[in-house]
Symmetry: C2
Subunit: 375 residues, 2 copies
């Protein structure tokens, strides 16, 4: 199906989405004005997206459920990268799956991911596979300290990783993580964390959003600013060359996110990881870009022309984590846009975000500070 | 309830909407990120908004249905001005109704509407009530020709009105419209048609959007441009003074639209009519204003702070009427945003609209022309 434009008009397509969290919710919202309908599969009843389409509740591993989910769909996409590859393969027998399942395979395993970038001559942190304690010793000799020991699979928001600063840390790290496939990564001394969102259509057309500056705390994204302050056009060009190489190598369709470290030496950008989906660091695009990441993902997978990724002024996103601030106070802030996900409060949980826009960076930074004071 | 802020957080409110057409659809979409839920009442099954909330299908006159509709709602609003006043009154016994039913009474009857503006010293076309053929003769003597004979109630998109250019037209006009309450209006020689959208919160705070230039054909709105080209700040101030006077006089809550004629003599703005609701001429606010008319209506009725009505550059709206253009071609246009209502094609029917944005007016006008060539 790749490369073809569907015969159906946008008005009559039904898109299946694996996962009905906030990303599925915002994808579905972007589809409504285009006349697109969605169906979700998610094990959690009454997920944030469920009010915007039919939700089939159940496991991603149940072949009967998957067949019921796929029936009548025009295509399937997903909101999280840990979709079991068997699930994607099974669905792909019935209906096109975008982004292509090969992207899932590369994104789910930190080792496969690093090797994928290595093959494309895209710089990453030095790395080594670690299956045994002996592997770890060898890897430490090669990579040195500090380094980060990570599980290859299912890590997110800083979970499943331990920083090794000195040889004494190694034993405890092994005790915590040993016994599963691991990877040791060299520590990259970075100036700041950035991300780039890129989108590729079914016809191979690509577009990139401006680089975004991301601030994490306790391993969770707290704030994104776009474009990244004091952004050098050469840095943007470098990030776009990484992104388009990855998109083309994967025959990708949809939005791809690449997280990057900016360093003080060459190469100026080191890839941290990729997510084959719309991304928290791109939520500001709803108000801050000509076309949001959600609409562009939907346009791409539906075989529609991509929309412009140009900025509309300056924008930032502040996550609402754990509990909600006073809604009235947030809405009273100039140019603040509230997005609630309707999830129950819980420590460390993303419950919503605020996008704030401005015509210049100093005003944007003032507005960010005012909102962060409420959060 | 007016003037109070609801104790509930936005996240748990349920808003009832009378009418589930495209306006209800866009109101519901604006409510999702704020965590607000909607329930619709509309006699037509599977209306454009039905996918965004529960739709109760049935008549606006059925007291039992109205009770079922109102049960558990935090408030009721509406997407059309012909809500029967008895319906609004009945609902208001159970739950707050915003905008207030008095606004409906004034907007539904062209005579009451003209008298309302007259009391506020807001200029309208000269007018006279016409119940009998004798009334019409007297009215013609006072107002002169040309003039427009209109039904007082249920006119929209140019329906229910006849232009009288010479005495010979009168007999036929009376044959067409006589036997129901009518109004004769003097013909206003206007330079262009404008509208202003204003919003008032439950706390009495008000805000106005910039004046919009509207182009009609066959009595149906085809295009809106915002801000109205070559807009004089004094004209904006005059329109805002009309709007805020009307809002305050009605103790209004929500978005109010006033359609205006711009003339070459004083007063430079004559009121044509008002609509106590969000309006087709304000659809561009989704992309073109800091806060859309839909979000501001929802914020107002829910007792939340109003959002900024500032423009984000220049914007225009082109209606898709009767049948749809090639969707792919529209989406390929720079800065074009497609909004489909998922209605079956029918002559004269509004099936969707395209919003187009630009950083300057000449670019906007070029983009409008390119889109209109497709429509």
């Amino acid at each position: 199906m790749s490369g073809t434009i569907p015969a159906k008009k946008g008005t009559s397509m039904i898109i299946g989405i694996l996962g009905a969290g906030q990303l599925g919710r915002m994808l579905a919202l972007a589809g409504v004005p285009l006349g697109l309908h969605v169906r979700f599969l998610d094990p959690t009843p009454n997920s944030p997206a469920a009010r915007l389409g039919e939700q089939i509740v159940g496991s991603y591993d149940d072949p009967e459920l998957l067949a019921r989910f796929a029936a009548g769909l025009d295509l399937v996409t997903y909101e999280f990268e840990n979709v079991p590859t068997a699930t994607a393969a099974l669905l792909a027998e019935h209906v096109p799956v975008f982004p292509p399942p090969i992207a899932l395979a590369n994104a789910q395993d930190r080792l496969a991911e690093k090797r994928f970038f290595q093959q494309l001559a895209i710089p990453t942190a030095p790395f080594a596979a670690v299956d045994t304690q002996a592997d770890l010793d060898v890897a430490l000799d090669i990579i040195g300290l500090p380094a980060v020991l990570k599980t290859r699979r299912l890590g997110y928001d800083g979970k499943g990783q331990v920083v090794l600063r000195q040889r004494e840390d190694v034993e405890q790290a092994w005790a915590m993580l040993g016994g599963q496939p691991l990877i040791l990564e060299g520590f990259v001394p970075f100036v700041r964390e950035l991300s780039i969102l890129a989108v590729r259509g079914r016809d191979g057309a690509t577009a990139c959003y401006p680089l975004i500056e991301n601030t994490h705390r306790d391993g969770i994204l707290r704030r994104s600013v776009a474009p990244a302050p004091e952004l050098d056009p050469q840095l943007q060009a470098l990030a776009e060359s990484y992104a388009t190489r990855a998109l083309d190598a994967l025959g990708y369709v949809g939005v791809l996110t690449i997280e990057l470290f900016q360093t003080e030496q060459q190469p100026a950008l080191i890839v941290n990881e990729m997510a084959p989906r719309v991304h928290n660091s791109g939520h500001w695009t709803i108000e801050g870009a000509e076309t949001s990441q959600f609409e562009n993902h939907i346009r791409a997978v539906a075989g529609l022309p991509l929309g412009s990724t140009a900025m509309r002024g300056y924008a930032a996103m502040i996550n609402l984590i754990g509990d909600l601030p006073a809604i009235q106070a947030v809405l009273a802030m100039p140019a603040a846009h509230l997005h609630l996900y309707e999830k129950a409060p819980r420590t460390g949980r993303k419950l919503g975000h605020v996008t704030v826009c401005a015509d210049d960076m100093p005003t944007l930074l003032e507005r960010i500070a005012a909102i962060e004071a409420l959060v």
